[in-house]
């Protein structure tokens, strides 16, 4: 596979570029005046080449991708040139643009479930593109279009395409839906596919399959791919060349192996250093047994079952099935699992946001099976909760200071001066200036908001903290800082924590003990670095093998191992 990579880029070296962007600038009109989203971007994509555009949110990578297809909103104006097979997308007429789309360039969107129309069959949706591009004035018959749609589905590895072509989007899983979206993009054999975060909405194991599919397309059909992503693992896995963007500018451009091995620009170095790498900085490094077992057990789940009631005449859905674990004082328990594994449900049940339906869940000695808000309320001050999306977990009408003071006001009723002082201390303990208390949540950046959220959950010095995907809405470099802070504060305050995440590397960095959830069942638990290093259960093995690491050579080796695992 690695030799193949080199070969492709060599072959691509002397070919005509499929896409050529020259000094592109995009400006948006907003209420706060003009905003230059893309300042000066020039890049070429050759035939059969995978070029990744990476950058954090706000770097202009998505805007660049949208410009390639002429999908910018009306409030934007662009200058420069975007040449696709000789046509300048920025200046061509609308009808020419329509012809270019689909035939010369196609797009794969981030969220496959919203990119497909739920009321039409997938076959119809793929055929729509085919019929819209009737060549030489000849109409494509419905039958022929369907036949070609079936072919496209076969190309992307949907089993039994003759039957599945008549299925509706909801009959496919998330990964298969993304395959269908890719099939629709492929239907007219475009030379170039723009994939905007094609795997971000997918689970790791599914992500590995989609990346493999994209790689096969490049190898078998010579399709060029522009890959927009923030995930360095994905870049290392798929890209030949990498373009790093920062605040609307290209800061570095290099072949993927060179970039990961010797980044030149300071920003790239920082970005790469911030990417969590499985097996490095493990919190349980060198641990032989389970740490922190001498203290009190704060959370104890025995055969815990949580069932969501089904609709009339249907069975309920078991989100959590027969799960047993404990969290002791001072311990960080990491809960990993893909979407739908029930990890958030467990976290919410511990905080009393969900009801348990079977087994036993004891939180600070309180049996959650007979949960009553009134009797549980006194215990709430012992439990902190950090939510996934820091932007949504603050009341937009209150200042940060008021938000952080909420728990104090509810439980201890301090005077205004006391509250102000305490809020200042709390903000400083999460490395925010005390003056930020005057600001409103939208005036803080994502990372600052998540710190404030941490400050709020720590206001009453809780014994237990539940962190539900606290960093998944943040950029990598911000995530790294927040994780460091979390680690420091945990050591300083000494609370027990349940750390919930889908990201294995992040969980490993923080947790002493890790549990792996799969379809509501706890399939494996153990010392963090043992679970990551030598997984026992098949699912854990698969999960870890499909996680791409930010290093092209190592990733190529892992990919082979992953394939062997699936084959054997």
């Amino acid at each position: 596979m690695t030799t193949n990579l080199g070969h492709i880029s060599d072959r691509a070296g002397n070919a005509e570029p499929v896409l050529s962007i020259d000094r592109l600038q995009v400006t948006f009109a907003t209420d706060g005046g003009d905003v230059q989203a893309v300042k000066d971007v020039s890049l070429d994509v050759k035939s059969g080449e995978v070029v990744a555009i990476v950058g954090e949110s706000g770097s202009g990578k998505t805007v660049t991708a949208k410009t390639i297809l002429g999908l910018l909103p009306e409030t934007a104006i662009s200058s420069g040139a975007v040449l696709i097979n000789g046509n300048n997308v920025i200046s061509v007429s609308k009808s020419t643009l329509r012809k270019i789309r689909g035939r010369d360039v196609a797009m794969v969107f981030q969220e496959p479930s919203t990119a497909l129309n739920p009321v039409f069959t997938v076959g119809w949706q793929i055929a729509e593109g085919i019929r819209a591009h009737a060549t030489d004035g000849r109409r494509v018959s419905a039958k022929e279009a369907k036949l070609r749609a079936t072919d496209a589905l076969r190309k992307v590895g949907i089993p039994d395409p003759e039957t599945r072509v008549n299925y509706y989007p909801h009959q496919f899983s998330g990964g298969q839906k993304q395959r269908v979206v890719i099939a629709a993009a492929l239907a007219l054999n475009p030379g170039l596919i723009v994939a905007d975060e094609p795997t971000t909405a997918l689970d790791v194991t599914v992500q590995a399959e989609i990346l493999q599919l994209l790689r096969d397309l490049r190898d078998n059909y010579g399709t060029s791919i522009v890959l927009i992503t923030h995930n360095m693992g994905v870049v290392a896995d798929l890209a030949d060349r990498v373009v790093v963007m920062y605040q609307g500018d290209v800061v570095e451009e290099a072949s993927s192996r060179v970039l990961f091995a010797e980044p030149k620009v300071e920003y790239t170095k920082k970005l790469l250093a911030a990417v969590p790498h499985l097996g490095r900085h493990s919190a349980s490094e060198g641990a032989r047994g389970r740490l922190h077992q001498d203290g009190e057990i704060l959370v104890e789940a025995k055969n815990l079952t949580i069932e969501y009631p089904g609709r009339f005449g249907r069975n309920g859905f078991k989100a959590v099935d027969n799960v047993s674990f404990t969290v002791s004082e001072n311990e960080v328990f990491g809960l990993v699992g893909e979407s739908g594994s029930g990890k958030s449900t467990i976290g919410r049940a511990i905080a009393g946001l969900n009801r348990t339906t079977g087994g036993s869940l004891k939180v600070l000695g309180y049996e959650m099976l007979d949960f009553k808000e009134r009797t549980f309320r006194p215990l709430r001050k012992e439990i902190g909760f950090v939510f996934q999306d820091p932007a949504a977990s603050f009341n937009p009408h209150l200042t940060i200071g008021e938000c952080v003071a909420e728990p104090l006001i509810i439980h201890t009723k301090p005077s205004a001066a006391e509250a102000r002082k305490k809020v200042g201390e709390l903000l400083e303990s999460v490395q925010l200036p005390a003056s930020y208390a005057q600001r409103y949540p939208h005036e803080l950046s994502g990372g600052q908001r998540q710190r404030a959220s941490l400050a709020r959950s720590l206001a009453l010095n809780p014994r237990l903290l539940i962190a539900d995907e606290p960093t998944s809405a943040l950029d990598v470099s911000v995530q790294a800082k927040v994780l460091d802070l979390f680690k420091d504060i945990q050591e300083q305050f000494g609370f027990a924590a349940l750390f919930i995440s889908h990201d294995l590397a992040v969980v490993d960095m923080l947790s002493h003990w890790v549990g792996v959830l799969y379809k509501g069942q706890l399939v494996e638990q153990g010392i963090g670095n043992h679970v990551m290093g030598s997984p026992q259960h098949d699912y854990t093995k698969r999960l870890i093998a499909s996680l791409p690491v930010p290093d092209p050579d190592e990733q190529a080796r892992r990919r082979e191992a992953h394939r062997a695992l699936l084959g054997g």
Binding site: T30, A76, K381
Partner: protein, 338 residues
Amino acid sequence: MSTPALTAPKQPLFSRLPVVSHFKKSVGLQRGMLMVGLVLTGLLILTSIFAPLLAPYGYSQLSDASGSFPTQEAPGAKHLLGTTVSGYDVLSRVIWGSQTAVTVIVVSVAMSIFLGVALGLLSGYFGGWLDRILVVVADAIYAFPTLLLAIVISIVISKGQSSFWGGIFSCAFSITVVFVPQYFRVIRAETIRLKAEPFVESAKVLGASSMRIIGRHIFKNATRTLPLMFTLNASEAILTLAGLGFLGFGIEPTSAAEWGFDLNKALADTSSGIWWTGVFPGIAIVLTVLGLTLVGESINDLNDPRIRGRKRAGAPTAPTTPAAPTTAASEPEEAGKP
């Protein structure tokens, strides 16, 4: 859309008031519409405040020092807009009518907002049987024709006719009954949406009581659409008031001037070529409704960043350029994820 606050200091209170802030961010046709609406509404309010100074005669005045007013006299020097069949001065009736209109709008909309918001918050947050009963009642009220309902309420309250405040309140009450379900529904839907927001859940996890959550966290967030509903409902309130008056359930001409009532009396005049008794109260109703609707619709459009028009990017607009470089440096975050 709020990022300018990152760099710019907070705007003074005046510029953050609902209508003022909307006017500031409007451009082009939307600005024109809002401006016309504001002028018409402003005229209405000014007329109602200064009615005693503006009107040449009282609303129930039938004679002055020089004797009784003639009936059905065409517009002329003494009576600028003519007189009605009963001998009232049309201009004075139209001007005094604005006072009735504004009072009814304020009273009815204020009552329905208080009731609707309170019920909507409770019903949406607690759910359960309370919610179900209130929704059924609201739907039942929706099912009636509004005017019919208003007539029934008006009869129940005032037993037909009454004084100025009695008439105002019976009109306002009947309009309230019709409008409460609207406010109730909107606030309830918002509350149900907000109930699942992480910031409400986080308040719950902190142990805040239900009343605190409703009062502090949900109330302010759920009531953002109220200025819009207020303006849209105000125009409907005028129409309902006029409808009631027209059908004879309004206020006696001796206790207040009311456009709907005047229109009713002018009905017989139309066939005999007397146009001034009907046209002027009619125009007053049309302009009032038009003004309020324009304001409401413009606010509606301006609230939605997808519909709101903006100045073209890069256009040579001198006043905005000083702000542009500072915001551009800190703002690509917003623009990067359209």
